[in-house]
Symmetry: C2
Subunit: 436 residues, 2 copies
């Protein structure tokens, strides 16, 4: 890849898109990364940071000095600057802020006052807003003049013109394509869309992302409490949010945190330990249940052979329901309105598959151990456990969601406990009633 010709590589990288450079840094190991950053350093493009996952961002920032970084960050739009700075260590963040030009610094610091994961953190402070009585011609003249005098007066890219009243409250928006279709004499008032979606600066980014998706938006205004326009959220930031939110839930269901891929061995071990520790407790609870039936098992060892089947099928059926429910809660497809229906359906599905697998597993157990009673026991236990799996697989995430706990994090521990305990209890309990 990179031979010993640093100048060639540096020249090459200078032409690359920031997204590509970030991707290259991701794929490299720590040592290569350090060498690459050294090459990029003379004219470091802070946009690269915006494209890096959080853990790598810290690492790369630590390789640069605050002055260089501040110069690079000052080149960014405010939304990207806030995005890059917000997740850094306090020290690094302060050092960069102090080296920013006063005006940029004020905007970035204001951006940081909004709650994490809010529209205020996502928004850019650069936007185009004009009075409602302007015509298309006047708007074009204004934009051309602004571009001619001070390039930084306009955002690098924009998609909608926001029309405001004298109090700077948003009245509506005109997509650029509509402006370009219209004659110079047309008044903006006559072509604006009034029914637009605006967000308060404290709105959660998930809510913003959902609206962008539901209404196919490209940019949307952010307003303060008085309805005054203070910023704009654009779709490129929302795309990141959508991907992150979906990824977050998936990783949480699997019991891992974000950025896990880039952590060092020791950090990864630590971060995964707590999840495994919770699972150890769960497993021990299940073992205690088995312990109640030690004498039964001693008499019929076949039970020890078969019991994991019941628990495992319940666990898998429950995970199916759980995954659907967690995802549907995240996308708001599952809500109070249809919760009872969904929970009822899942219980029915669990029971139906329970009956099917009761016949299968019962038949196999009966043939294997030549004892129809063992088949009967595993069959009944299977139905009971898979019904519970369906019920709790839907109920647990919904209950956690109502208690404002993220169902993706906690659901599967509770569920495994239920399906293990119910599975072993039903199977071994029935066995000691029927077989002994």
């Amino acid at each position: 890849l990179e031979a010993d010709e640093p100048d060639v590589v540096a020249a090459l990288l200078a032409d690359w898109h920031a997204g590509d450079v970030a991707h290259l840094l991701e794929q490299s190991d720590a040592e290569e990364r350090e060498r690459l950053v050294a090459l990029l350093r003379p004219s470091f493009d802070a946009e690269i940071l915006a494209y890096l996952p959080l853990d790598l961002r810290d690492e790369v920032v630590s390789l640069l000095n605050p002055k260089e970084l501040a110069a690079a960050v000052a080149e960014l739009d405010t939304d990207d600057a806030v995005d890059v700075i917000q997740d850094l260590d306090d020290g690094a963040r302060q050092a960069i802020l102090e080296n920013l030009p006063a005006e940029t610094r004020a905007l970035v610091e204001e951006g940081l006052t909004f709650p994490e994961s809010s529209a205020g953190r996502l928004m850019s402070r650069e936007f185009v807003s004009v009075p409602q009585f302007w015509t298309v011609g006047r708007l074009l003249d204004y934009l051309r003049a602004a571009a001619g005098t001070d390039e930084s007066a306009l955002p690098e890219q924009f998609y909608d013109i926001f029309v405001v009243d004298p109090m700077h409250r948003v009245i509506g928006a005109v997509p650029l394509s509509r402006v370009m279709r219209s004659k110079r004499t047309v008044r903006l008032m006559d072509i604006l869309t009034k029914d637009i979606h605006s967000f308060s600066a404290t709105a959660d980014q998930e809510e913003v992302a959902r609206s962008f998706r539901r209404y196919g938006l490209v940019s949307a205004p952010v307003v303060d409490k008085a309805g005054r326009l203070i910023g704009v959220v654009t779709v490129d930031d929302v795309v990141d949010v959508i991907e992150e939110e979906a990824e977050e839930d998936m990783l949480r269901l699997g019991g891992v945190g974000e950025g896990d891929l880039y952590r060092a061995v020791l950090d990864t071990t630590k971060s995964r330990f707590s999840w495994l520790a919770v699972n150890l407790v769960t497993a021990i609870v299940a073992s205690v249940v088995i312990g109640f039936f030690e004498t039964t098992i001693a008499q019929v060892v076949a039970l020890a052979v078969l019991m994991p089947i019941v628990a495992s099928m319940g666990g898998n059926a429950g995970t199916q329901t759980l995954t659907v429910a967690v995802r549907a809660l995240a996308t708001r497809e599952l809500s109070e309105a249809n919760a009872a229906r969904v929970i009822g359906k899942e219980m029915l599905v669990g029971t139906a598959n329970g009956v099917l697998f009761a016949v299968l597993a019962g038949g196999i157990a009966c043939l294997w151990f030549r004892d129809p009673l063992i088949g009967l026991v595993i069959g009944i236990a299977m139905i009971v456990n898979m019904m519970c799996a369906g019920l709790f697989g839907a109920l647990i995430p919904f209950a956690l969601h109502r208690m404002k706990i993220d169902p993706a994090v906690a659901s599967s521990v509770f569920l495994t406990t239920v399906t293990d305990v119910v599975g072993f209890l039903a199977f071994l309990g029935l066995a000691s009633l029927i077989l002994l």
Copy 2:
């Protein structure tokens, strides 16, 4: 919600955004849905279909007649029309196509010739392309004239002007905001971005989505084999792809298919059955392994009590690794370049946590059954199983990916088999060596 005043509801819904109507239909049960669709029928907006999940789309389509549907679909941009039609049953699709105006029909049918999930299916056929020698002024005049004569000549919304050569090959693009900043006399050639990202019509939609995300694109040209511009992909379609791809992987890891939430009980039962059947086979394999040690268990029943702990911890540690690996493969953060490093790291993390939990579980087992040897056995088995969990949790998805099999679908079955078999084998095997 809806009283017995259908006219009021119908009038209300007519003002709603298609995304909101779709959301309402999602939240309703089948009966409510039928009543709502009846209300919407007189002036059905086909865009509603584009916002509905697949299974509901079929249901709603079956409530409308082909003529009405065709009239509604004809109003859509071609990308949405193709999107709505592509997933319908053959019969319904044919009926709609036959009732479309000839020109729209030709475009939609051409769209359907591209492979599923390709850029060709995503793209819209409506775009603005102009020769390179035009000036900004001429472009504006052209757009205004086109808007004045035939509204359908221009796409409803567009974000970039594509500049083409006489052979209709894409030379570059000019974002609308740049056009608006420029004086009428400026030539497009002088303000166009040459280094743009274009896609072939057969490019996979995942690849398109990755590029949009990596480069923060809003629209991108789709070209045929000769490099000629044939369509445009816009970010609103890509947002759906990003969300769907992330969701798909999560659901597949959980052993369920898409649209599961809306299926009837019987359909859901059927669709989940196959996954559970595979798991039954896995569970039986594990049971067979336990069966080898029946005599050992009969002598030391404590083994039956403790053995699920080893298997469960291995399963959970493996799932953590698996989730990270599947996600990283989907986002291309994991590739040939860093596979060996990631697999090695995961094995180390597994072993490290294995040692920690060996001490914990060993200590507990030793105290519980007052036998240090049992503690030793469970400890060693724990280390072995968690090391394997880390190794196979990373190796299995990577191997499947190389064999062009979706790791999200198949990985977890293989992994559970490995962690169960290794767990029981190590624990019971060591027990029969050490304890007997």
